[in-house]
């Protein structure tokens, strides 16, 4: 993993921009995300800050691996985004320096702004976060077994250990806020938010499997269905925009019962053997969302007949393993491949309960046009698509003393 730290302050960044610039945020979804500088959430944060200060953000683009020239080119040329990039005058790169150079040559007619300094190669640890283990020579740092943590590095090299702080920007414009009630509680949300985003902003948890913030909602897992006053049917919160004075119920007996049944159905679709699944390991891409939902809903076993039919596991790719038996067909990988990787290499095949994800023209991964960018790996909520290197790896669960009162 490439280690980069923030190099410029928020003031420096603003000095590089003009008020009439049409700005696109450009972020990589790999190393820089784990360095705490890139990724979708940070793009949203920076977008909000710059908006509040009166800058014109016309879009944000997440790229699975921003240092791959061909990928960056494909993003620039993609049908949906072509116009946005043509219009843009400034690109803010939330990528490592390598990704910045790629962006600079892809967008050679635009102002491309670098935010980070790349200082070497390192690793991600569960307890200390990202650490630098192999520093570049110019840093003057010695290679050691312990590695350098971010606060340490920031101090030594005069860099910033964290991303920009929301407080540095102007106050939010309250004109854009609307009020609504969620679960009989008065809440505020911004215009254009979905119910799901409004709930997140108000610390209300809505269960979901197929929704991921950086992908277009598909509303196929049906776990986030909620009740809206005036609507005859249940509405998916991930895809329904909020309105002024909307009255939303995200949790009651009926909804919880339906969610429980849906989760049982998901469990029955295949045999989900967690003992041999790599997603349970405490590692960088650990934590199985299906498993945590099952825990949340107290599900001990599925009452439905489990599908025992085993499908072959595809290990042909050099970097990832696809196990269709653990797939819940949420389609996040399919959307990530299309939107984050700009590849369209993954899609669904077959019908009914035989529906599953397949690479290329229903081939193995190494026979398809997969660019091994890991977009699908980061998107998968279960252990269906995992990184090969993480198999039988990861730390033991940390031992902690639990005292009973």
């Amino acid at each position: 993993m490439i280690i980069s730290l923030r190099d410029i302050s928020y003031e420096d960044l603003k000095n590089k921009l003009n008020k009439d610039d049409k700005i696109v945020l450009w972020s990589c979804n790999t190393c820089i995300k784990f360095c705490g500088i890139g990724g979708y959430d940070n793009m949203v944060l920076l977008e909000n800050m710059l908006r509040a200060d009166g800058y014109n953000i016309i879009g944000k683009e997440l790229i699975s691996i921003a240092c791959m020239y061909s990928l960056a080119e494909q993003h620039k040329k993609s049908i949906d985004k072509k116009n946005m990039f043509q219009e843009a005058t400034a690109i803010i790169c939330l990528t490592c320096e390598d990704g910045f150079e790629t962006a600079e040559s892809v967008f050679n007619d635009k102002k491309v702004i670098k935010v980070v300094k790349t200082i070497g190669v390192g690793n991600f640890t569960m307890d200390r976060g990202p650490i630098l283990t192999a520093p570049f020579e110019w840093t003057g740092l010695e290679q050691n077994n312990q590695g350098y943590s971010f606060p340490e590095l920031a101090e030594k090299l005069h860099l910033y250990p964290t991303f920009f702080d929301r407080k540095e920007a102007a106050e939010d414009n309250t004109d854009e806020n609307i009020s609504l009630t969620i679960n009989n509680k008065k809440c505020t949300a911004r215009i254009g938010m979905t119910i799901m985003q409004a709930c997140e902003a108000n610390s209300i948890k809505v269960p979901h499997l197929c929704y991921e913030a950086d992908l277009t909602p598909d509303a196929n897992c049906r776990l986030c269905l909620c009740k809206v006053k005036g609507e005859k049917e249940l509405v998916p919160s991930c895809a329904t925009p909020v309105r002024e004075n909307m009255e939303i119920i995200t949790q009651d007996d009926e909804l919880e019962h339906a969610r429980k049944i849906l989760l049982e159905l998901a469990l029955a679709s295949h045999e989900h053997n967690c003992l041999t699944c790599s997603k349970g390991n405490p590692c960088i891409a650990g934590n199985c969302e299906l498993q945590s939902l099952v825990r949340d809903y107290d599900i001990k076993e599925t009452r439905f007949q489990q599908n025992k039919e085993k499908l072959p596991v595809d290990t042909s790719s050099p970097v990832l393993v696809y196990d269709p038996n653990k797939c819940v067909s949420c389609g996040r990988c399919v959307r990530a491949c299309k939107e984050v990787a700009c590849q369209n290499n993954l899609s669904f095949v077959n019908r009914g309960s035989k529906t599953c994800v397949a690479a290329g023209a229903n081939k193995l991964f190494n026979q398809s046009a997969c660019v091994t960018c890991l977009a699908c790996v980061f998107a998968c909520p279960t252990g269906a698509i995992t990184e090969k290197i993480s198999h039988f790896e990861g730390d033991d669960w940390l031992e902690t003393n639990v005292y009973q009162s």
């Binding site: 897992c221 019962h257 159905l265 998901a266 029955a268 439905f304 009914g352 309960s353």
Partner: protein
């Protein structure tokens, strides 16, 4: 020739009528073979070929052979209609090559009707005229009064033909036949005389509701699309009829393709569309062939293409063949399919009228809805409003199948009771059994027991009972069959045809089928029934598209009305 003026249409009409007239020398008789898919399947092609060979061998030039679509009473196929100059036409049922030889020698040559093979006297298109004149038409000599007149047979008499106005009367391969029955007059009127608002008002006033199943007012749909701001708009005819036991659309497509095209022209003018698609399932090869032929004829006559009727209005229509997925009949899945994507439904909002095919405003209408349009434009909304029930106007075509005597396609005024259809039109069930239930609306519909047979066939009364009118499939079930088995049959279909997108649709249908299989195999217990009901309710509430939301209906309705059969099935 290019049709530009109303006089062009009229001259085609007169010429065609003149040409088809029978006389005593040049054209003494006409034999019509009804060649719908149903007819062909029961052997109409053999009948037609042997008839052709006969005339060829005997060098007979003054007898015309005509082919048309199905006349509705599919269970009596192959049917032929024999007309001799100055005599009443006779419809023969269950015709095969041997019977044809007899009919040919005796009736066609000598004028001696063979009563034992005959179904009725008279043609369906002349039925109203016959009723008005006490069962006979003046210019026609009654040949054998022992044969029932067509108006005496409930199957024909109780029907009201608007959508099926041309069945059995025109050759679907000939545009001139359609024009001779006032075809394209309404399109001419709409394109040259009326503006968009006027057409929409007329359709709105008529009270016509979408015949695909949901019953949304057609005029309102058009209004939304006409208001959408876009240079490009699309009009789509949904001919992806896939319900088991439903064949209304096929019957219309095969016997009267131009009525769909005319409906689409009027709809396109109303909303401002310049491109149309007929999304037809590939399992209807004859319909696809006939549609393509009809489209190319319409283009040749200048009725489709650039500058239609010399009025600066452009429209072209093409046939798009579905690849066999039932779910593609759902609007949003159909849109994806035409765009070349996997036929998965999406959320209904934005509506297709705002963002449809290729992200442009799109109107999607069912075959039957479109076939209703030209009579409304021609006869006015007031005429249309006289037919039907208080809330729903016009007629509805049902395909009646199952354990009844007269299987076929029937068009009845909305509001007719189920009893009338089953007892009179369908002529009941075979002796020794009774009809205990009727499945309405295909796999999305429900099962209604016999004590509700007085119910009117209308959108709302049926919905109140937990079944739907749907696209018009009606399957009669006699008392020898189990309701659980019926539910299993439809669940099997839904599980098979689910697109696999949403969790309840994909996995819920499979699990409901699993439980039903278990019960049908005699391995079920009481908990299974409770579990089934629970799951069915959840799937109904949570599924993404209309197909998933209605898939549990056969289970829920049989649980409601035939709970005892479930209990019987799980008894140890």
């Amino acid at each position: 020739m290019i049709v530009n003026k109303i006089s062009d249409l009229e001259s085609i009409k007169n010429k065609t009528l003149e040409m088809t007239k029978l006389d005593s020398v040049k054209k003494t008789a006409r034999i019509t073979v009804h060649m719908g898919t149903c007819g062909i399947a029961s052997g109409a092609k053999d009948v037609l070929n042997s008839l052709k060979n006969k005339l060829k061998d005997e060098h007979i030039k003054n007898i015309e052979i005509k082919t048309t679509g199905c006349i509705g009473i599919c269970s009596k196929e192959p049917l032929i209609t024999v007309e001799r100059f100055g005599e009443e036409p006779i419809i023969y049922e269950y015709v095969n090559v041997e019977k044809l030889n007899e009919i040919y020698d005796s009736h066609i040559k000598k004028g001696n009707v063979i009563a034992k093979y005959a179904l009725a006297r008279g043609k369906e298109v002349e039925l109203e005229e016959r009723v008005d004149n006490n069962g006979h038409i003046e210019s026609q000599k009654i040949v054998d009064s022992s044969i029932k007149g067509i108006e005496e047979i409930p199957f024909f008499r109780k029907q009201k033909r608007i959508v099926m106005r041309n069945r059995g009367a025109i050759d679907p391969y000939k545009i001139t036949d359609y024009i001779s029955r006032d075809g394209y007059m309404a399109a001419y009127k709409a394109v040259t005389e009326l503006d968009s608002q006027k057409i929409i008002e007329e359709v709105l006033d008529s009270g016509l509701r979408g015949r695909g199943g949901a019953g949304f007012p057609t005029g309102l749909k058009w209004k939304f699309a006409s208001k959408a701001d876009s240079k490009e708009k699309y009009i789509i005819c949904n001919a992806d009829e896939g319900d088991p036991g439903a064949f209304m659309d096929r019957s219309v497509l095969e016997s009267d393709p131009h009525s769909i095209i005319e409906g689409m022209i009027i709809a396109a003018k109303a909303v401002g569309a310049t491109k149309g698609f007929i999304y037809c399932r590939a399992e209807y090869p004859l319909a696809v062939e006939i549609l393509n032929k009809a489209l190319s004829q319409a283009r040749a006559y200048g009725i489709l293409g650039k500058n239609i009727f010399d009025s600066n209005f452009d429209l072209d229509i093409e046939v798009y063949e579905g690849a066999g997925a039932f779910v593609c009949g759902e609007e949003t899945a159909l849109i994806h399919s035409i765009e070349g994507k996997r036929g998965n439904p999406r959320l209904k909002i934005p509506y297709p009228a705002q963002k449809g095919v290729f992200s442009k405003p799109t109107v999607i209408n069912n075959v039957e809805t479109l076939a209703n349009i030209s009579p409304i434009i021609l006869n006015g909304s007031d005429w249309f409003r006289q037919i039907g029930s208080e809330k729903s106007k016009g007629t509805k075509v049902f395909s009646i199948t199952g354990d009844i005597n007269n299987v076929g396609c029937v068009e009845i005024p909305i509001g007719t009771s189920i009893k009338t259809v089953l007892d009179d039109i369908a002529d009941g069930t075979q002796q020794g059994s009774t009809i205990k239930a009727v499945q309405l609306g295909g796999p999305s519909g429900g099962c209604l027991p016999a004590n509700y047979f007085d119910t009117q066939l209308d959108y709302e009364p049926l919905q109140e009972l937990g079944v739907i009118m749907g696209s018009g499939g009606m399957i009669a079930i006699n008392d020898k069959k189990s309701a659980v088995d019926i539910a299993r049959f439809f669940m099997n279909f839904c599980a098979d045809e689910s697109c696999g997108k949403c969790l309840p649709g994909r996995e819920g249908t499979r699990q409901m089928l699993n439980i039903l299989n278990k019960i049908c195999d005699g391995k079920g217990n009481k908990e299974d029934v409770a579990k089934l009901e629970d799951l069915a309710q959840v799937v109904k509430k949570t599924a993404l598209c209309g197909l998933g939301k209605t898939a549990p209906n056969p289970i829920l309705s049989t649980l409601k009305y035939f709970k005892n059969e479930y209990e019987e099935a799980v008894k140890e």
